[in-house]
Symmetry: C2
Subunit: 213 residues, 2 copies
Amino acid sequence: MKLSTYFRSSAAWRVRIALGLKGVAWTPDFIHLLRGGGEQLRPEYRTRNPTGLVPTLETDDGAAIAQSLAIIEWLEETHPTPPLLPGDPLARARVRAFALTIACDIHPLNNLRVLRYLGREMGQDQALRDRWYAHWIAEGLAALEAMLADQSGPFCFGDAPGLADVCLIPQLGNARRMRCPVEPYPKLLRAEAAACVLPAFADAAPDRQPDAG
Amino acid sequence: MKLSTYFRSSAAWRVRIALGLKGVAWTPDFIHLLRGGGEQLRPEYRTRNPTGLVPTLETDDGAAIAQSLAIIEWLEETHPTPPLLPGDPLARARVRAFALTIACDIHPLNNLRVLRYLGREMGQDQALRDRWYAHWIAEGLAALEAMLADQSGPFCFGDAPGLADVCLIPQLGNARRMRCPVEPYPKLLRAEAAACVLPAFADAAPDRQPDAG
């Protein structure tokens, strides 16, 4: 399989973790989001992924899949072991709701293209963009912490890493990089501590990618 | 089942359609997003849904599920007929990628709380906020249209309505309400035409809700 990835993209980071947890070998296709106005916006890339966003997974049959959560659900269905979702439908719904809170309510607001629009089209300076960034991080992480109120860990939901952890660790990574407070969220930090020692998480980190720099 | 809903919320609208397609009876719990500073932000509601966003589905067992796509995946698993996703994993991935492009890349950027932040915290007037709204609609709908390039309809993916249509129709509804151009997207309009005559879609429309006004 081939993954179109950028070291700092937290959506690509999610897929790198999931591929690692599933033990699936993959070849990187580096898409530099800044160079030349953004390689993800080139027609060649858009043919494979019309959203002009990373990641894209190309399967061994040459099919291209967009959207990190669609890729991970596909991986879950085609490579069921180890599972990233529990078996019970209600438990699955809770894990998916946690993942979607990151994928819908935090990450898209703090995406590169949005921060650019705020700067270039709306004249918001770096300090105001940083405040915007921190605002959605704080709103989102507080909701995530509350979603784990009845969970005893060590991971987000139980004693094995799953979709919730796959999405959380990159989002916490972004929060730390932007110096947003993470101390108010002990359950999230507990899951992060449990995850970060696992090779699948460690190997997927931005600073471990060949295109980092 | 009980659905916390607001007539104009396109995320709640998705779930109303899905419940209708599945033939599941539900009781509305009206959450007015504007009244009293927003009923979705009240502690009582946040206990059920920490995100402070609609919708929330309360199952017959009293469990609360947040996030429209998590709710719909749960419905799909617990009420499999009629299916909203195809059977083949790659086909499922394409439908999910389409749905996530709406749920992650369009809708969250044009959400009430975000438009409020742009106005109150960033001083962007109505015209600038409208331009922002139209920008993300245009970016997103163009990607969605391209995702259907090889599809012959009448629905987004094939001859029965599914998750893609469930997400598309509310998003097109928002685009029309905000007077964003929809003519450049003939495949999306074809799916809309096929869907809107079905009772599940018609009954879920905002102007058919008891809380509309």
